[in-house]
């Protein structure tokens, strides 16, 4: 079976007045139908940029400068805007981070849901309305008929995110991108929305890209995880591999910074020191080197290559290379 999504060496830059910001420096990954992939990283690491580019939604000064994006057998990077529009909201759809601002304040919920249905299907007004009601019920909103007539500001944040999910699911997309769908919500609401997403995924079976900086969320939802740092995937693997066979220092840092309710000893939470790199002048070597506790001389000079750790697990860190190197050197001595 072919891949649903195939991204190869994607390079994307924002051409700002201050200079070229290399937001993505060679990102590659692929997804099969039904896969749930989590992309993890801090703000500015390129996780949102990657997923927006899948929808052809790269914001203004940004431009794809290399690599390819293939979705369902179509080269997205070579599509015209018109072809792209047929895919957006239809085959690929997206849920944004902030439900408070992502809905147009001057139109009713019903208007905004029906809009996308009528755009991609040949449904009549009444049929679209019926489908909208059905969708609201699906995402767990009660009194859907009443809600359709309301304006976004009359709904709570969690409710609005449910509406956003309804809009995203309106045309039964093959791929759903969720861009930090719970970050802007209260903790209790976060859990509800996540539960809803897991439930919907079981019901509808679409692929999901889950973008987040919260490793807890990915562990409960995803099968595979890509950890991004400074526009690159630094480690990729299954949930178990990322959590229990962590190989990249940055991933280790991320794991140390989440609290564990289960742990009996009072483990200290360790934040990652320092600030993310300046993407206008990215350093020559490993971008994480200046913040890395195990930084070596080579890290400052050269970008580490990817090393496969298993069929599904790879990572870019000089420490792995060091181990290999020592193994080789030890072997020679013996």
């Amino acid at each position: 079976m072919g891949n649903l999504l195939d991204i190869k060496d994607e390079r994307l830059s924002f051409f700002t007045p201050a200079g070229e910001v290399k937001a993505l420096g060679g990102v590659s990954f692929s997804m099969k139908e039904g896969d749930v992939l989590g992309i993890v990283g801090e703000s500015g690491s390129g996780k949102s940029v990657t997923s927006y580019s899948v929808m052809g939604l790269t914001a203004h000064p940004g431009r794809l400068i290399g690599g390819s994006i293939e979705f369902n057998g179509h080269r997205i990077d070579q599509m015209s805007e018109k072809e792209m529009r047929r895919i957006r909201g239809n085959e690929v759809s997206i849920i944004f981070q902030d439900p408070m601002t992502s809905l147009n304040p001057v139109y009713t919920i019903g208007n905004q849901i029906c809009e996308v249905i009528r755009l991609h299907t040949k449904k009549s007004k009444a049929e679209a309305r019926a489908r909208a009601t059905e969708l609201l019920t699906l995402v767990g909103i009660n009194e859907p008929e009443k809600r359709l007539k309301q304006y976004p500001h009359e709904l709570s944040g969690g409710m609005r995110q449910r509406v956003m999910i309804a809009i995203a699911l309106a045309c039964e997309p093959k791929l759903l991108i969720a861009d930090e769908p719970t970050t802007a919500l209260d903790v209790t609401i976060q859990a509800q929305i996540l539960e809803l997403m897991i439930e919907l995924r079981e019901k509808l079976g679409m692929s999901i890209i889950m973008i987040t900086h919260d490793l807890g969320i990915v562990s409960s939802m995803c099968e595979k995880i890509a950890v991004m740092y400074a526009g690159k995937i630094v480690e990729y693997g299954t949930v178990d591999e990322i959590f229990y066979e962590t190989s990249h220092e940055y991933t280790k840092g991320l794991l140390r910074s989440i609290p564990k309710l289960t742990s009996e000893t009072h483990e200290k939470l360790v934040p990652i020191e320092g600030t993310p790199v300046d993407m206008l002048n990215p350093p020559k070597g490993c971008p994480f080197a200046p913040r890395c506790g195990a930084c070596m001389k080579i890290c400052l000079r050269e970008m580490p290559p990817y090393t496969d750790l298993s069929d599904t697990h790879y990572s870019a860190c000089w420490l792995i290379q060091k181990r290999e190197f020592e193994k080789a050197a030890g072997g020679e001595k013996q």
Partner: protein, 305 residues
């Protein structure tokens, strides 16, 4: 909503009351009072006049009478135009100014909004720069300069357009252009920045993510939000147009309320000055209230407050 309307109307009534009061007392600074100022008349005639206008009574009584008259729409008698009341003069002259002003406001809105939007869509390109340039100049040039330049060029040098009065469609071109110039520039600027703001909003990204075309994104999702600040400008726009008409009507010799007002200033027709001031103030203040309420109606976000 009802409470809000009530509050705004109460504020407006208070403002109008204040303006009327200020007007009354300021006018009494004029030696001899507004109704008699600088008229050499015999003592008998003066006494008769004083009795007629109630000027022999103490100031507080005069004030009371004047304010009561205002409520009834009685703005007094013109000093210079024998036998005509101020209200009559306003009633005959205002429609002319209203037509001119209405056309100018319409022009400003219909030209300013597309100009500003076009600039925003083409941010940083030549179309944007052209609009910014026009808007910057438009805001810097006083209306009397625009008027006189138009008059000189199209009226006198080229002789294309009539320069006096408002008798035909052609007569309207120059005054309306002159009066609409500043507000057009202002609206274009306002619209540009508000459109840029809207284009950067998350819901525009949502609209694009739905697969909507450029046209639908702009006309359905952007325009309605971007136009809201322009609605709030309509109140000040009316004030500008009314005061601007003083200059424009004076230059193009248009028999409207504006030129009447300027004439009353130079002719020291104090009752007419008072009456016109209060009339225009009521107009502007009530327009502001209407615009504020309309704004709340258009923007569903504020409805519940």
């Amino acid at each position: 909503m009802g409470k809000y309307i009530l509050k705004r109307v109460a504020m407006a009534v208070l403002t109008i009351y204040l303006v009327s009061t200020i007007t009354f007392f300021l006018m009494n600074l004029v030696p001899g009072g507004p109704f008699l100022a600088e008229k050499a008349v015999s003592p008998q005639a003066q006494a008769a006049m004083e009795e007629k206008y109630g000027l022999d009574k103490p100031l507080s009584v005069q004030y009371k009478n004047y304010m009561l008259g205002l409520v009834k729409g009685d703005l007094g008698l013109s000093v210079k135009q024998r036998g005509r009341t101020v209200a009559q003069i306003i009633a005959t002259k205002f429609p002319v100014s209203a037509r001119l002003g209405g056309l100018s406001i319409l022009t400003a809105v219909c030209v300013g909004i597309p100009l500003g939007s076009i600039a925003a869509f083409n941010r940083g390109k030549w179309a944007d720069n052209v609009v910014i340039f026009i808007a910057t100049c438009g805001i810097a040039v006083p209306s009397f300069v625009i008027c006189t330049l138009l008059l000189m060029l199209f009226g006198l040098k080229l002789g294309w357009l009539p320069t006096v009065g408002l008798n035909s469609v052609l007569h309207y071109i120059m005054p309306v252009t002159a009066l609409a110039f500043y507000p057009t520039a202002y609206i274009a600027r306002l619209m540009r920045s508000s459109m840029l703001d809207v284009l950067g909003q998350d819901y525009m990204r949502t609209a694009r993510a739905k697969g909507l075309g450029q046209f639908k994104c702009i006309f359905k999702h952007a325009l309605r939000n971007a136009v809201l600040p322009v609605v709030t400008y309509l109140g000040p726009l009316l004030a500008y147009t009314l005061t601007g008409s003083f200059v424009v009507e004076k230059i193009f010799t248009i028999p409207g309320l504006g030129s009447e007002f300027v004439g009353s200033i130079t002719g020291r027709d104090y009752p007419l000055i008072m009456g016109t001031t209060i009339f225009l103030a009521v107009l502007i203040v009530s327009m502001n209230v209407i615009v504020d309420i309309a704004y709340k109606l258009i923007d569903p976000r504020i409805k519940l407050k």
